[in-house]
């Protein structure tokens, strides 16, 4: 083993490139021990510690804004793009933790590992966001997924939770298989797993684009991501898992990991498979429409708000895909912005659900919130704001997000796609309105007991509202940030 090889390797290892996830993982392990040695049922301090951990991580990763760091022979890079998505995930995780403490106590699972798992998920998400090598992306994906499997099935003695966990696990692993096979094929053709490397190879010999192995590999790889972002026809796990999982986790899944998945998705597609743009746009056009339509139409008939929001998140993935179809700067920036916005509005909605849910959450149905507008006016207004944002009503952030994405589509000439998109959001109005109808236009059948109001959750809601409104009224700075994050 000659020395300069090792030397080179040592130099290539640039820890600052993975510093945020490193910090987070470190905190996670420490907290694991803390929670082991802390008395049973006492988890509040763990929660706050993990929150602090996230803040620290946030500071660390923000530190590398505008000074990209590459590491591990270019298989990890901490550029603005990565940072942006990492921040999104961190925000998601932070909100999750804020809303979890009271929730876990109510549901009777005051267990510290929960928080460490959230942290690990976040770490994995950050890996995905910053991975430039299919290998690192795969690792991040798995770290994220494995922790999420556990979190989804976290309520051990609730069958719903188990089921959610298992379904997620099996389908996740299944899709991993495809993803890996795709990676293998790409590797076989190009001889590398580096995204940039693949692109270079294709540039060097264009014949590759017609190579069946290459095309098939690329598409198999993409299906893996499509599964994670819950795009039709790979969306089917979403409603069940979202419904079964603990509400904060559902919120988290709908925001953080999805954002990370989109990060990797974008990086791979735009850089690695740039050569296949035409084909990919064509197929994603259809997938986007399919996803939006299925999400919205099925949501119309839902009774359970959690499940309804699950379907709505499918449709929102569809909107995001529109941006990817557009394949232009504004479209991609739109996606980033949208993911950020979506984190706030969706998690805010779930936070409200966390508060108004009883133990076992059997009352999180549309009729369950009847009359809430008068019984819990503030919460009702908050939920309404989030729902309006999800509808895409100005002046909320949801409108801005949709606007940019559809703008991207229109600019790229996909006018019909945009039209179908807006028509879909017109359909979506109905089921969002249904919640408000029940909250305001109907009288409460029975008084739903005292909401287990706690400061942390309230804070998370406030943060979400501020985010939704600020990004709605002055989206400028955030868009600028997203623009800088693009490449």
């Amino acid at each position: 083993m000659d020395a300069n090889l090792v030397q080179e390797a040592i130099q290539n290892v640039n820890l600052s490139a993975i510093m945020p996830s490193l910090v987070l993982s470190g905190f996670g392990m420490v907290l694991l021990l803390v929670s082991v040695f802390s008395p049973r049922g006492k988890t509040t301090h763990v929660a706050w510690l993990s929150f602090i951990a996230l803040i620290v991580t946030a500071l660390v990763s923000l530190g590398s804004w505008n000074n990209p760091q590459a590491g591990f022979a270019g298989s990890v890079v901490l550029d603005n793009f990565a940072t942006f998505f990492s921040m999104t995930c961190i925000i998601a995780a932070g909100l999750t933790i804020l809303m979890s403490d009271g929730y876990l106590k109510r549901e009777g699972y005051p267990v510290g590992e929960y928080y460490t798992l959230v942290l690990f998920t976040t770490a994995g998400a950050m890996w995905m966001a910053s991975g430039t090598d299919l290998m690192t992306i795969f690792l991040g994906l798995e770290v994220l997924s494995v922790s999420l499997y556990v979190l989804a099935g976290f309520f051990r003695d609730q069958t719903r939770s188990n089921e959610a966990g298992l379904k997620y696990f099996f389908l996740g692993a299944f899709s991993t298989g495809f993803l890996l096979y795709g990676v293998a094929l790409l590797y076989g053709v190009t001889g590398t797993t580096k995204i940039a490397g693949i692109a270079e190879y294709v540039q060097a010999n264009p014949a590759t684009t017609t190579n069946i192995m290459f095309v098939a590999g690329g598409l198999l790889l993409l299906t893996g991501f499509l599964f994670k972002v819950a795009a039709a026809p790979f969306h089917m796990w979403t409603p069940d898992v979202y419904q079964g999982a603990p509400t904060p986790i559902t919120a988290f899944m709908s925001a953080g990991p999805k954002a990370a998945a989109f990060a990797a998705f974008i990086r791979v597609t735009i850089i690695g498979l740039d050569s296949m743009q035409a084909d990919i746009s064509a197929v994603f056009w259809i997938l986007a429409v399919l996803t939006m339509t299925i999400g919205n139409f099925v949501a119309l008939g839902q009774k359970d708000i959690k499940r309804m929001l699950a379907y709505s998140s499918i449709s929102h993935a569809g909107y995001a895909l529109v941006g990817l179809v557009a394949w232009n700067e504004i479209g991609l920036t739109g996606i980033m912005f949208y993911m950020l916005v979506y984190t706030f509005m969706n998690m805010g909605a779930f936070a409200v659900l966390v508060l108004i849910g009883k133990k076992g959450e059997e009352n999180l149905t549309i009729d369950g919130v009847a009359g809430m507008g008068y019984k819990r006016p503030v919460l009702a207004i908050a939920l309404s704001i989030f729902l309006f944002s999800l509808m895409g009503m100005p002046p909320t952030a949801g409108f801005a997000g949709k606007f940019y994405i559809f703008a991207g589509a229109v600019k790229a000439g996909y006018i019909w796609l945009a039209v179908l998109g807006v028509l879909n959001s017109a359909v979506s109005l109905y089921y969002y309105l249904k919640v408000m109808v029940s909250m305001y236009f109907k009288d409460a059948e029975e008084d739903f007991g005292w909401v287990s109001m706690n400061a942390a959750t309230a804070i998370s809601i406030v943060i979400a509202i501020v985010g939704v409104l600020v990004m709605g009224m002055v989206p400028g700075p955030f868009m600028e940030m997203a623009k800088l994050a693009g490449f």
């Binding site: 700067e329 703008a407 868009m479 623009k483």
Partner: protein, 528 residues
């Protein structure tokens, strides 16, 4: 003051709303009083516009306000771009004028958590004013959508028994249209950008200048026109209106009729028509036909209604038919008729809804058959009702006539001769359904014992009606107050749309040969 008058006017109600949120919910009087004061102050703020003579002299935009709002280099620029001209002026005034009346009308009508009601009213006012004064399509769209939300709750929470259906229908129906318009807006913007036009933001004045290819204009006009046609509403997109009107609380109906419907017509005049002038001729036959159908159809359907409020709602369809017909005439008379008819409809139909509200508060029913002979019990009410009825019928000397006459004449002088002739029959039908309703409600003997104990209008209710009556006659007798400030803007608009505003020599009674002596009465001022 003058340089940010519009912002002040637009956002003052919003400010008021924030305060309302902090008033204890059980203090009903304070809530309503405060809201009334806020709306009155807003009216006062807007008054300088009405008295400013600049509108009479130049047709351009005045009271401009321009700030960069959102600017994402290379992607977009949205500006906070306000302004008002002769076309929007009177609609703004109508809004600020009708709001206090609407608030007053809630005094007895709204008991159930009036706090929310007042807050929503104020939010709504901001939305409406904003939509009228914004010159940036993006900004306009935001206000436009912002109006939906409060109205949705007003109908849904304080409405009648079928309110949920009505509210949701209203919301989704109007939203569908506006969402398509959104796509169109984006397209126009990018077309402008790609055609290298010098535009910053979505400012309509820049958009007026760029000439899109016909086929693009075709689709864009379709999108805009569809959205506005729903709002107007034009036949056959009108069915949300009767539901919304019948279910909405009185104040809601008044605002809906007086202002929200005008958004549609205003949208045509301000956006759809001048932005896509080449496509316009293609659509005018269709739109004119729909307007005429709307007139006849609305009248016939109104004639057979059993619910007074529904009757008035359908009559709105007919009235707005006149507005649209006049606007599509593309000449001064037509435009002026259309514009003034918008105001008239606001005044008259608003008044009618108030009147319906009065009897509804007393009897909690609106079925015509429930009434009869009310004139005995409520003479004052009867008189006011009669005046409003005839103004709605369009009796000369009242506002209704000026609008309908000019709209029809404009249509006739313009290319729409036969449409005008058919539409003129609407004049007959209007008399039929209004008078029949009046007869069945007010005339005859009191048959229903429930009506025996009816009280005549209270002082408050009379105060609510008086300002409207003043305008009924003002517009009827001296509409020039309004035309003087409208005309320049309309001339500019028409020239801009490539239509000569048909200014032939403005003749003068003095111009008639000396064979006939002409004298001017001492009171001959203001005559031109």
């Amino acid at each position: 003051m003058a340089d940010n008058l519009l912002s002040l006017m637009t956002f003052f109600p919003l400010l008021g709303m924030l305060f309302v949120l902090f008033i204890p919910r059980d203090n009903d009087g304070l809530l309503k009083g405060f809201t009334l004061v806020v709306t009155l102050i807003t009216f006062v703020i807007s008054l300088p516009l009405a008295f400013d003579n600049v509108f009479a002299t130049s047709g351009g935009m005045h009271y401009r306000e321009f700030h960069e709002w959102i600017n994402i280099g290379g992607f977009f620029q949205m500006n906070y771009n306000l302004g008002v001209d002769g076309i929007s002026l009177w609609l703004v005034m109508l809004t600020t004028f009708i709001m206090p009346i609407a608030v007053l009308s809630t005094w007895k009508a709204v008991e159930k958590n009036s706090k929310g009601f007042m807050a929503l009213l104020l939010l709504l006012e901001t939305g409406m004013l904003g939509a009228f004064v914004s010159l940036d399509l993006f900004l306009f769209y935001i206000f436009w959508e912002l109006m939906l939300i409060p109205m949705y709750f007003l109908i849904g929470i304080w409405g009648g028994k079928n309110r949920i259906y009505a509210a949701v229908k209203f919301f989704i129906y109007t939203a569908v249209g506006s969402l398509l318009m959104l796509v169109a807006i984006i397209f126009v913007y990018y077309y402008a950008v790609q055609s290298g036009a010098l535009i910053n933001g979505f400012g309509i004045q820049e958009f007026y200048k760029l000439n899109l290819p016909y086929h693009a204009q075709y689709w864009l006009f379709l999108a805009f026109g569809f959205s506005f046609a729903i709002k107007v509403p034009m036949f056959p997109l009108h069915t949300w209106l009767p539901d919304a009107h019948t279910e909405a609380p009185t104040a809601g109906s008044v605002i809906l009729a007086a202002v929200l419907l005008k958004m549609g017509t205003y949208g045509y005049v301000r956006f759809a028509m001048p932005l896509f002038p080449d496509a316009l001729p293609t659509f005018i036959p269709l739109l004119a036909t729909l307007s005429v159908v709307g007139i006849i159809y609305g009248s016939l359907v109104a004639m057979m209604q059993e619910d007074v409020k529904k009757l008035v709602a359908y009559s709105s369809v007919a009235h707005l038919g006149f507005v649209m017909l006049g606007v599509f005439a593309m000449n001064m008379q037509g435009m002026a008729g259309g514009m003034i008819q918008m105001i008239n409809h606001g005044v008259s139909t608003g008044a009618l809804f108030l009147i319906v509200g009065f009897i509804y508060e007393r009897r909690h029913t609106r079925m015509i058959t429930e009434f009869g002979g009310l004139a005995h019990k409520m003479p004052v009410f009867a008189t006011i009702f009669l005046i409003v009825t005839f103004s709605s019928i369009g009796l000369p000397g009242t506002n209704g006539f000026v609008g309908e006459f000019l709209a029809l004449m404009g249509a006739f002088e313009g290319g729409l001769r036969w449409y005008a002739v058919v539409a003129t029959t609407g004049v007959i039908f209007a008399a039929v359904y209004m008078l029949w309703m009046y007869q069945r409600v007010m005339m005859g003997t009191v048959t229903n014992p429930a009506n025996e104990s009816l009280k005549d209008l209270s002082a408050r209710e009379v105060v609510v009606m008086l300002p409207l009556l003043v305008f009924v006659f003002w517009i009827g007798v001296y509409p020039n107050t309004f035309f003087d400030k409208m005309n320049p803007a309309m001339e500019q608009l028409l020239t801009q749309m490539g239509h000569k505003p048909a200014i032939v020599e403005v003749h003068h009674p003095a111009a008639i040969p000396a064979a006939h002596a002409v004298e001017h009465a001492p009171a001959a001022h203001g005559h031109n």
